[in-house]
Symmetry: C2
Amino acid sequence: MRKNEQMVSGNAHPTSTNGIGVGMATDISEQPEAFARLVAPGSAARIAEVAAVVAARRPRHVMLTARGTSDHAALYGAYLAEIRLALPAGLGSPSTVTLFGTQADYSKALVIGVSQSGRSPDLCELVKAARKSGATTVAITNEPDSLLAQNAELVIHLDAGVERALPATKTYTTELLALLMLIEGVRAGDGRLPEPEASFLATLPELAARLLEDDGAEPIASRLRFVDSLVITGRGYGYPTAREAAHKIMETSYLPALAYSGADLLHGPLAVTAPRVPVLAVVGQGPGGVAMSEVVARLAARQSEVTVVSSTDVAGAHDRLHVPGVDERYSPLLDILPLQRLTLALAVTRGNNPDAPEGITKVTPTR
Amino acid sequence: MRKNEQMVSGNAHPTSTNGIGVGMATDISEQPEAFARLVAPGSAARIAEVAAVVAARRPRHVMLTARGTSDHAALYGAYLAEIRLALPAGLGSPSTVTLFGTQADYSKALVIGVSQSGRSPDLCELVKAARKSGATTVAITNEPDSLLAQNAELVIHLDAGVERALPATKTYTTELLALLMLIEGVRAGDGRLPEPEASFLATLPELAARLLEDDGAEPIASRLRFVDSLVITGRGYGYPTAREAAHKIMETSYLPALAYSGADLLHGPLAVTAPRVPVLAVVGQGPGGVAMSEVVARLAARQSEVTVVSSTDVAGAHDRLHVPGVDERYSPLLDILPLQRLTLALAVTRGNNPDAPEGITKVTPTR
């Protein structure tokens, strides 16, 4: 499959001139459609079937495993599993299997491998080992014929289409959506989503489309053009968004972008947020957002310039990326969109090609 | 307790002039003694008792929870538990309990809270909630009367003495040692350490003392004086060391120091390691080290300047912090020592006070 083909489409992003960044802009613009495909009845029914099988097994704990961008989706899945299923959940280190040959007992576990390509050898091996020891295994991937999908008992196909740019965007957000549908389906027991989840999913494609039309990302990217480093922070459900935004900015603008949970930021690295280091803060609607408001106030007291990703004004913030006001649990699916557009615009304004940044490949064969 | 008192001792570090950094230098220099206290028969017997209780409960998975520096010790504990106990292990997010009120079922879990002060409210609550739901709970702390210690069923006292500087050093390494003794004791079943662990622990204080006498950290710190950012990388057991070194440098020199697992580094952020960004790479003796040698070669091919923390020469490395050649499993207890000295010397040469850096406090009351 040609992973790197550049297609100029009618959805081209306004910052993309001379074809630079058109691939990433197109990928970003396709997310509402990708959401719509995944929540459509046929796909939703297939995910519900997977969820019903998982629910019937009554797992006692959840382990997710992923690399790179998908690792941030997996982190979202871990929060969802802990909070919505009340199951201990965490991210597994593939190296314990691939480098150290551990054969852990996963017989009470739900093990979820998340990978757009489904080809990272370490994830494939970890899922295989977990299945062998009795785990219920699920692969979430954009490549339903991949080795990861073959190694897992159950498969959720992201159906996000080919990603044109090397930095993942629509495969990331569809991974988030698949995890939300899976875990809420397990919570429901029969896999069928109750209210309010069903209503939210029905409106998601439209919310995403409207957000991408008007998010205020470009002037903020322009303002960040000359920075040397960035700090990005969030708590709870907002933390994976902070991690993913930092990763994307780093991949495409080669800037040291430090991601912290708002709590960990106060445990030491606060001094890195000197007045000359801009901060992006994800402030949701809910307990995580309340905790983050305090972090923004602490940062403002230190003369930090804080741009918030929020649906409402936040005291102490200098600027804001406007996102819809949804329950925090859903916010990662939307909050990352303006941050993807910010990433793209920042890379372009700094003279980099976000479609094919240096140093990354679509499939990274680590063991 | 006066956490911040500065005591000038005969062990003062040569880079410490005018009292700047004497506290941290003294803390660092006391680690061999702190190791010796923890492995001494009385303390070892108390840890063995805790380990025997844990082993008898036959936990099915392990959750560790911590904040800041202790989070890196907890990460070491998670690797140890997965590899040595073959139990699924991960780090828990206290915010799921404290912000979202989750009551997860930890009845099959070993839950370990790691905190020098034992006072972080979120950890205390998570351990309390886990114990209530039936978990076997262990507090590892330097304050045996703290709330964390009260909330846990079992307590391991680090007995590291008062830390003079705000950045944690001797409490970090004693946390690592306590986790090693606990988990190897659980593996043994009766808590008593077999060979080769017993022999290694007997030699550890002496290995640490010799390493602190001659590690080559100062010329490297001098060379890094003018950098804008740093990348620090390791794999498997070496990854917590990379994370902790980055955290310490950030806290004391206010530099963006990015920590990556060697595998994740190849999944995207490699381009951040431009020729002008120095890399520190932890290369152990074992499977993690073999994997890291490939990472160093990849970095060298990109004209990165790589300083390795290693007991042997590594192809492509520009410079080396010399550490004793021990099994990778033990290496975190030693590899961090020259990196602590590097941190101290770098902060002093950049005109900062590592004993009382901006922005950090010894106890951070996050929820």
